[in-house]
């Protein structure tokens, strides 16, 4: 969103309509011929498959690497204590549909918490966020970008170390050659855009060292 605003202040003639949804759903819609120009996926595979199916006009590119964060709005304890003793339910996005859900499920499986927790799945990461926000679930494994956007206090969330899950590599793919789409696609690679993404809670460089 901020990316589009930033681009539009430079190119006021460009006009966009943003359609948001879980990556899996949008992928299926594009495969079925949905008239989108540019697709920002929250994963790698869906854009690659679209390219292979001949739906893209250039190869997909990484625009961001997502970070997973544990949000527990009512936690007063040190995070290490919380990870050892939390016994409630944890919200995450559906691992079958959403990349952040997949990362969250991998994190739980890798022993991020000392104990096995009951999970509550939202259809996408936004819904999982709402489960925690409405107070129905005490904690959630969500995206850092989401928490930043909602201006959640940094005291209430804990960044999940990247060793717990495969990197959440997010790619975008250009689907048509509309001028506005090409312009925005190129803008994402500029340092201005990269700074916006960093502020929003993403990494923009693929880590050189293997992730620990």
């Amino acid at each position: 969103m901020d990316l589009i605003d930033a681009y539009q202040t430079r190119h006021p003639e460009a006009d966009y309509e943003v359609i948001s949804g879980s990556t899996g759903i949008l992928y299926a819609q594009i495969q079925a011929g949905a008239p989108f120009d540019l697709f920002f996926a929250a994963d790698e595979a869906s854009t690659e498959e679209l390219a292979q199916a001949g739906r893209s006009i250039k190869p997909p590119e990484i625009y961001a690497i997502g970070r997973l964060a544990l949000w527990a709005p009512n936690n007063q304890r040190p995070w290490q204590d919380f990870l050892r003793s939390f016994n409630g339910r944890i919200a995450l996005a559906n691992p079958l549909l959403a990349p952040y859900g997949r990362a969250a499920a991998a994190t739980l499986k890798a022993g991020f918490f000392s104990q096995t927790l009951k999970t509550v799945q939202g259809n996408n990461v936004v819904q999982a966020f709402q489960f925690v926000e409405t107070g129905n679930v005490e904690a959630g494994l969500l995206s850092l970008a989401q928490l930043r956007l909602a201006q959640v206090s940094p005291n209430h969330f804990y960044l999940v170390p990247t060793k717990y899950h495969p990197p959440i590599i997010q790619k975008r793919v250009l689907l048509t050659n509309h001028a506005a789409a090409i312009g925005l696609d190129q803008f994402v690679s500029t340092s201005v855009a990269q700074q916006i993404l960093t502020n929003a809670g993403y990494q923009t460089q693929r880590p050189n060292r293997p992730l620990k």
């Binding site: 559906n94 799945q121 259809n123 489960f131 409405t134 107070g135």
Partner: protein, 228 residues
Amino acid sequence: MSADLQTLLISVQLAALTTLTLLVLATPLAWWLARSTSILARFCIPFIALPLVLPPTVIGFYLLLAFSPDHWFGAAWLQLFGRPLAFSFEGLLIGSLIYSLPFFVQPMLVAFRDIPESLLEAASTLGADAFDRFRTIVLPLSKQGFLVASTLTFAHTLGEFGIVLMIGGNIPGETRVLSIALFDYVETLNYAQAHKLALGLIGFSLFTLLLLQWLSKPGQALLGRRPS
């Protein structure tokens, strides 16, 4: 037990419990609405019909807020039963009761209104108390209404999707129902499994509608209703 079988079981349990609960709770309500001439009763009917016209997401949204331990309702429930309401089978049941209420009450209203007041008065003069009158007059005369209301409620609960998506949380063996499993199959492009569930649901729904059609045929001996 296979995942699909478990899902089917949860769906059937939810539909059956919703129907049974409404039989107990909504029958007196429908009776009151059918016989009462008070303003209150007339005001109640549109409120009960509301889930017929509202998108399920509206109900799901407010239930999600009400179920929260931050809200008095969710807090009271947590205090009483020691576990939260959202993303639990009990929570789904409450959602289904609200969502399916008009599907039960409307056919019962029609059935109860059809019972002539004179019959009840005659029974009363002959010394039948309220329970006798219900058992020997109301029940046989509204059998068809009960069958239609129960079948509709059961089938409608089985097909519920929007509310479950919002207050269910997709927990296997607790809140993952057929419509949600089907949605997941479609979203993950697992069309073979999706067809299996979808065709099953179409078959069941058709069967239910045929059953309803047959049940509402007038003069059926099975229904114990003689042409008047």
